[in-house]
Amino acid sequence: MKGKGNAIAVREPPAAPATELTRELVAHFRGKKDFLRQQWVEQMTAKSFLAGLTPKETETESITIYDTCVGCLERGEYRAAQSYATSMAERGVLRGMTTEQIIGGLLTLRDVYGRSLFHRYHREMARLSAALDIYEPVANKILSIVALAFIEEREKVVREEREKVVRQQQEAIRELSTPVLQVREHLLVLPIIGTLDSHRARLLTEQLLRSIRANRAKVVIMDITGVPNVDSKVANHLVQTVDACRLLGATVIVTGVAPEIAQTLTTIGVDLGRILTVCDLQGGIEEADRLLGYRVIVTESAGSPSPPAPALER
């Protein structure tokens, strides 16, 4: 059968010059443009695919889509459709348009085109069949381009969202990992827990410096009980942090230097001579109180079953 042979030839036609029938179809769709486009818009409105679009947007979008589709049929190439689909997907996803709206709209257009072909050729079946052989692959190709563009856009948005969440979580973890606590007026405690690498030491120092300013701190206790190993590099970070705090007028007391760490530091020859160190956190707080001019006194509350509570006096 002749039609069949034609169909195979037309299914992969891109670069081939438009056949006489293709030219006829293009002319047909161009000639009936206003009528068919109007029909398409009405059907889409009925299915409420146009929710969220202004009449003006509907007008421009529908004209562009109509012309782009006819252009694809005419030229047998889809670059214009590809780029328009990508931009439509970007805008659509941003404005919260559903996939159903977009795909549904294009399926509607496909039907409108198809029906108008039936109308034109319903008296000559062979020609109708040949026309559909030309028209259908083009319509399907456009649909798949648009569907793919939408899926890609969705994935992109999801991926960006996920990366954003991960970034926020990393920020949060970092904040959590270096809490700066105000114990009393002018006194901050910074318990360092975990390994201290250059990056973390830097963040920690920046955060501590800002806290000193914000809280008007005069003494800072840096407790390193929770730092597993202190090599010369880590010690160097600590010394820098102490120096930076001092530039802002705050005194730093380092507490919790474990016996092995003290030994290591002495062996590798790190000079912590300029750093005020106290054995443990409790001792550190006592020293801080002394520096700040506080004195802890024990008040006797007669008849109270609970042990006397220490009170602070300045």
């Binding site: 990366e163 991960v166 970034r167 990393q170 920020e171 990056h199 920046e206």
Partner: protein
């Protein structure tokens, strides 16, 4: 992207201009506050090196980009006497003028990349770069294999 900025260095007042311009350019590139201070301080050191050793020269500031990250390039150039021993000049505490001797080695610590090219009698060019360290470069998101 912002354009290159060229600051002629002829006196100590130009050192201030160079670091202010550098800070401004780095801010448009997108550096955070504490990094802006590091960059401005490093520029101050290399510009002072020109004033002290060559008398005059120039500092050229330009935005740069590589591997998806943004950065700034600072080039400090003079036609002064040159540095006979670069290794020595980059050592902490080395100074020919009774200063702290922290200028060049200090600037190197503040930046991510640092290079010196010098010829005795011809002059010295210091090129240094700093990149914006995004959180993701510290903790890269790698696709699972």
């Amino acid at each position: 992207m912002a354009a290159d900025v060229r600051v002629p260095i002829e006196s100590d007042a130009d050192i201030v201009t160079a670091r202010q311009q550098g800070r401004a350019l780095a801010a448009t590139v997108g550096f955070g506050n504490s990094e802006l201070t590091l960059i401005a301080t490093a520029i101050s050191e290399v510009a002072r090196n020109i004033v002290e050793h060559a008398g005059r020269g120039e500092v050229i500031l330009s935005p740069t980009e590589a591997n998806n990250s943004q950065g700034i390039v600072v080039v400090a150039r003079d036609q002064g006497p040159g540095i006979p021993n670069i290794e020595q000049a980059l050592r902490d505490g080395y100074s020919t003028r009774g200063s702290l001797g922290l200028g060049l080695p200090g600037a190197r610590r503040l930046m991510d990349e640092f290079e010196i090219a010098s010829k005795v009698g011809k002059g010295t060019t210091v090129t240094m770069k700093k990149w914006i360290h995004r959180n993701l470069t510290e903790f890269p998101l790698r696709p699972r294999r």
